[in-house]
């Protein structure tokens, strides 16, 4: 081709394109306000069955969870599958001081156990997978306030009633439906006495929690948890159930092998045989926004 003609054609094309591009590209180009979007709602609530999750709270919000586990269902219809046997109840309040950090207090009825805990969210999964998972840390310190007066001078002191827990939570939303969380957890009892509602007699308990969620509809998910013990022969925790969001509440109904609702006691035994000794569990989660309302 004649190079001069080629050059002319090129210039002409460029000018024509610029002249008419207004017609062709008249609309605005659709652009996202922020390139990296964080993955949200990996789990429905800061709790998933008995374990805490990577699900953060917004700054200034208060999360209230009331959690119950009833008697074993093998007690039959006469005891309404364990509901008559009375519940272990935990009230839990957690307040977010920032979008990453929250502090909470919980009280379980078994052993009248008070637990202070904090959660810190270190990493957040992003939609573009530059960060493939969310990572959070939980630390807890608790005290058993049961009356051990019958032990006379052998009654445990405050420090002997104490126990601690630490947990890492690695969560990922694999698809819109499926989320998983791995939770390596440790619990430490200063003085694990047989009078306490724990089964183990060692001080340190290690376990690896698995939490799973399978979303059926926008508001309902099937849930499961499995917490195998790593350094003892105690029976492991197994549970499965359903999460339902309704009116700003997250209701969690499940069958679980353990009556316990806090990390320390969850790890220190007391699990029933899966299938026969499941217990009915029921949590209600609610988040309250505090501060200014827009």
């Amino acid at each position: 081709m004649n190079p001069k003609f080629f050059l002319k054609s090129l210039i002409l094309t460029a000018v024509l394109v610029s002249a008419f591009s207004d017609f062709v590209f008249a609309q605005l180009e659709r652009r996202l306000a922020s390139e990296t979007q964080e993955v949200e709602l990996i789990f429905h609530a800061p709790r998933h069955l008995n374990l805490l999750t990577v699900e953060p709270l917004d700054e200034g919000t208060l999360h209230f969870a009331i959690m119950h586990t009833f008697g074993t269902i093998d007690s039959g219809i006469r005891n309404l599958y364990g509901i008559d046997n009375g519940a272990n109840i935990q009230f839990s309040f957690e307040y977010a001081f920032s979008n990453k950090f929250s502090l909470g207090a919980a009280r379980s009825s078994r052993d009248k156990f008070y637990n202070l805990f904090g959660r810190y969210h270190i990493l957040k999964q992003t939609q573009d997978d530059k960060m493939p998972f969310s990572l959070s840390f939980m630390g807890a310190a608790g005290i058993n306030t049961n009356d051990y007066g019958f032990l006379m001078e052998n009654a445990p002191s405050a420090s002997e009633r104490s126990s601690f827990a630490a947990q890492l939570m690695v969560g990922r939303k694999f698809t819109d439906r499926i989320s998983f969380q791995l939770s390596p957890t440790m619990a430490y009892f200063v003085d694990p006495r047989p009078e306490y509602f724990i089964q183990g007699s060692q001080n340190l308990y290690l376990a690896l929690g698995f939490s799973g969620k399978f979303k059926i509809t926008g508001k309902t998910s099937l849930t499961a948890q499995y917490i195998p013990n790593l350094n003892n022969d105690l029976r492991s925790n197994l549970g499965f159930g359903v999460d339902v969001e309704a009116g700003g509440h997250v209701f969690q109904m499940y069958f679980v092998t353990s009556p316990y609702l806090n990390e320390q006691y969850l790890l220190a035994g007391g699990n029933g045989v899966p299938g026969e000794e499941f217990r009915l569990g029921f949590n209600v989660n609610r988040v309250f926004a505090t501060g200014k309302r827009r």
């Binding site: 002319k8 008249a26 605005l28 922020s34 949200e40 926008g218 009116g247 700003g248």
Partner: protein, 182 residues
Amino acid sequence: MIGYRWVLFIALLVSFGLNANAQTFKTENGQAEFLSKASLLEFTGESDQLQGLIDLDKNLLDFYLDLNTLKTGVGLRDRHMRDNYLETKKFPFAEFTGEIEEGTEIPVGQTKNVTAKGKFKIHGVEREIVVPGTLKRNSANEMVLDASFKVLLEDYDIEIPRVVFYELAEEQEVTIHATLRR
């Protein structure tokens, strides 16, 4: 045969002519708000990142909003809105493209009642809508647009959970306010 130079010249004229008189007004920080007025709960969601273009020459209106920028003041509600209702991962934008029915003649200093007719798209569903509003020509280079319209969630396949009938209104009132500059 028309010489190459002539074609080039005319094309250049057209090009400059268009650019010189281009009546293209734009904004990147328009306000968009929706009001959900249910029997027991009333709340609004707001964004100040409405992107818009009004081209008076071509009689073209083009607006879009990144729905991720909408905030209702309650973080969990925002997440539910994005995750369950608007599904912003799949459908991140609300879009309107249309024209002004009354024409685009607006003298400086005047406010004109206008009707925009065009396609509104949200949650992957596109529908023809008619939006009444006002256009105020502040100066040769500035216009203010105010408009409001109703969005029936059902029309856009946005499901309202029946269990929480009081939480979210079936009909959302959308209001936009934008200052567009040339």
